[in-house]
Amino acid sequence: METEINGNLSPTQPKWRKVAYGGMQLGFDDNHTDESFLEDMVMNANVVRREMVKVMIDSVSISQYLCIVTLVVLVWTCTLGSSINENSLLLLDASLLGLGFFVLLLTSEMLSLKQLLNYVFKISFFITGLYVLSPIYHTLTQSISSDSIWALTVSLIILHLFLHDYSGSTVKVPGALEHPTLTSNISLNASIVASLLIASRVPSRLHVFAIVLFSLQVFLFAPLVTYCIKKYSFRLHLSFSLGLMSVTLAFAYQLHRFLFVLLLSLLVFITVVCPCWLIRIQEYKFEINGPWDEAKLCFNITE
């Protein structure tokens, strides 16, 4: 019945228009589907074609940070196994701090003396606070078994790695505009809790102080330092990452064969398998845009 009306359109009939007003359009049913149906639909408008090499190079940031965390865990195990004493730990702290400042000075464009003094003041304040608190950390988890502490630490570190902001840094350079995201904050806190848990297992208070300082230095500032390096020169970033990876692998090899294999396979997985995978699943990408999308505002909303 209705379909017949659709079928034999006489030439005098008005054309169907894509309008809602004026009641039912003469000669057309309400379920009439015109040729113009879905003509404004755009498919895969914003899809970026990715290149294998680019993705692989980008994934280096992740491998690099994984290596940094592995190094921290190695230092933890060595300290717990008493193969590093507190003095060498303190030496490590001091040299890391110096090295970090050196890199920041080298890479940032506008680091004035005033800002540097501000940094030094804040860090000395931080170190003093940590020193005062270290007896508390020392006895913090005495009533909990070491196994639980290890299990908790491992899960926190995994959480930290999952939620870490690999493209930026949670601790910002002063004056940075964007705020860190919630997940990166959670990640940072997980790493701090993990280091405090480990610190409560070491033999002396000075140990506690040294190891907490070391962990916090790395977890708080290593992303910032690597971020600055990356911004300064991408080539430097790549060579630094490669060096870091080989150093970590060497240490892991010395400590435990299994750890070495695990780390190596993880690194291969991140830098080779995952990029391949991403490129493979790209072809299934199906994005639909059209007039029904919520309009995006072309200006920033300042609350």
Partner: protein
């Protein structure tokens, strides 16, 4: 069917979480459609959830019976999705009222989805009206689209309020386009009349009525209003509506010292919208997404020239000479307002109102919906297995899950039939209201 020749009298159950005392596009659509269907001689019953103390059965104008289920809303006026919790009561209502067809409204409404599912299980023909647009990108809409796919997989016919909405619904649900009808909203032109006397154009008043939220483009208003006020010293804004973005608008007013030129009235009760509208010359709609936008119709019916963002179904709503459209960006909006101000002398509100009367009427909507009902009833009956195969095509995992949900619903239904046979449920006698109170129509709804 034996009585194909004469017009079928349907017994329709309208289901949605959104109904009076709430106000909005969906609510008024259901109300006016029901009223007009009643006049056409059909029986209409509305099913919604309880609104605060309003629970149980109520009668509205024209003998419209409303069931307020004793189910409390939990989020944004939606009932908690329970899947099977509503089956017994919906079954009882369907049998008591001798319903022949179930018509669900709005994709957000959980009650609507559940009712349609139960109705299909019990073998009723169902029609679904989609009143909203949805994107495809974010996690929320992906899940919502799956739910819609579930409901629409087995729906007899679907209705959308605009052609854009139809495209959207077809994409989201995978329904064949010929099963989806476009029947727009309408406006009660008797209620939205222009001012009896033409307003003077010495001072131009731009009216905004919307909830002040992000999706309605409140942030656009913050950018547009100061710019327009700067360009035209004789323009005044009146903003009606409340919401989280009201603070931003008030801040803007302070910052640009526009206290005497931008009036913020807060939420406007529905009954006062008309008197509010007729105080202005231009109606400004800044929505970022809109399937249809009844507010534009109301403004046009009051004789206001509309300036709106070109989003969703808005371009289909009015002829080009009754509306000025702009991209949702402040510069373009300001230009559109400029154009509208220059068009103002040529606009005659009374003439516009008369045109709107011809363009939109709820009776027309009801007649067109009637056709959809007839079609739905002509659809063939399908066995459970046939229907399950349709659900199975909805997705690798989702398809199986949907099937499971439907099978359990089917089992529950049979269990209910065992415990409470349909013969034991008392049927409500119909009563015909004398057709003399038409003048009183919509009075109750407006209060």
């Amino acid at each position: 069917m034996s009585n194909m020749g004469e017009r079928l009298k349907h017994r329709i159950l309208m289901v949605s979480d959104f109904f009076y005392p709430n106000f909005g596009g969906v609510e008024s659509h259901i109300y006016y459609l029901s009223q007009c269907l009643l006049k056409l001689g059909h029986k209409v019953v509305v099913l919604t959830h309880a609104y605060e103390k309003r629970s149980g059965v109520r009668y509205m104008t024209g003998g419209l019976k409303v069931y307020y289920l004793p189910w409390k809303p939990f989020l944004m006026q939606n009932t908690l999705p329970t899947f099977y919790g509503t089956l017994p009561i919906i079954r009882t209502i369907l049998i008591r009222e001798k319903i022949s067809l179930v018509h669900g409204h709005q994709a957000f409404s959980t009650l609507c989805h559940e009712a349609l599912m139960h109705a299909r299980t019990m073998g009723y023909k169902v029609v679904f009206t989609d009143h909203s647009l949805y994107g495809f990108a974010d996690a929320g809409s992906i899940h919502m689209n799956k739910v819609l796919q579930f409901t629409l997989a087995d729906v007899s016919q679907a209705i959308c309020v605009s052609h854009t909405s139809k495209e959207n619904t077809v994409l989201r649900s995978g329904l064949p386009p010929e099963k989806v009808f476009v029947i727009p909203n309408a406006v009660d032109t008797a209620m939205f009349k222009p001012a009896p006397e033409r307003l003077s154009t010495d001072e131009i008043v731009i009216v905004v009525i919307s909830r002040l939220v992000y999706r309605k483009g409140a942030d656009l208003l913050v950018e547009v209003i100061p710019e327009v006020c700067r360009k035209y010293p004789n323009v005044r804004f009146v903003v009606g509506g409340d919401g989280p973005k009201r603070v931003r608008l008030e801040e803007m007013r302070e910052k640009h010292s526009l206290q005497d030129r931008v009036e913020m009235l807060g939420a406007v009760p529905h009954a006062k919208v008309q008197s509010f509208l007729i105080s202005g010359h231009i109606f400004l709609n800044s929505s970022l997404t809109e399937a249809f936008c009844i507010a534009i119709l109301e403004a046009a019916s009051c004789g206001l020239l509309t300036v709106s963002t070109r989003v969703g179904g808005v371009p289909e709503v009015l002829p080009d000479d009754m509306v000025v459209l702009a991209k949702p960006d402040p510069i373009d909006m300001v230009q559109a307002i400029q154009k509208a101000i220059s068009m103002l002398p040529k606009i005659d509100p009374q003439d516009m109102h008369l045109r709107m009367k011809k363009l939109y009427s709820w009776h027309d909507v009801a007649k067109r919906t009637e056709i959809v009902y007839d079609r739905a009833l002509r659809c063939s009956n399908q066995s459970l297995l046939e229907r399950l195969s349709r659900y199975l095509t909805c997705g690798a995992w989702a398809g199986k899950l949907f099937c499971l949900v439907m099978i359990i619903d089917f089992l529950f239904w049979h269990l209910l039939q065992l415990f409470k046979p349909a013969a034991d449920i008392e049927v409500v006698p119909d009563f015909i209201l004398p057709h003399c109170q038409h003048g009183e129509k919509s009075r109750h709804f407006n209060e």
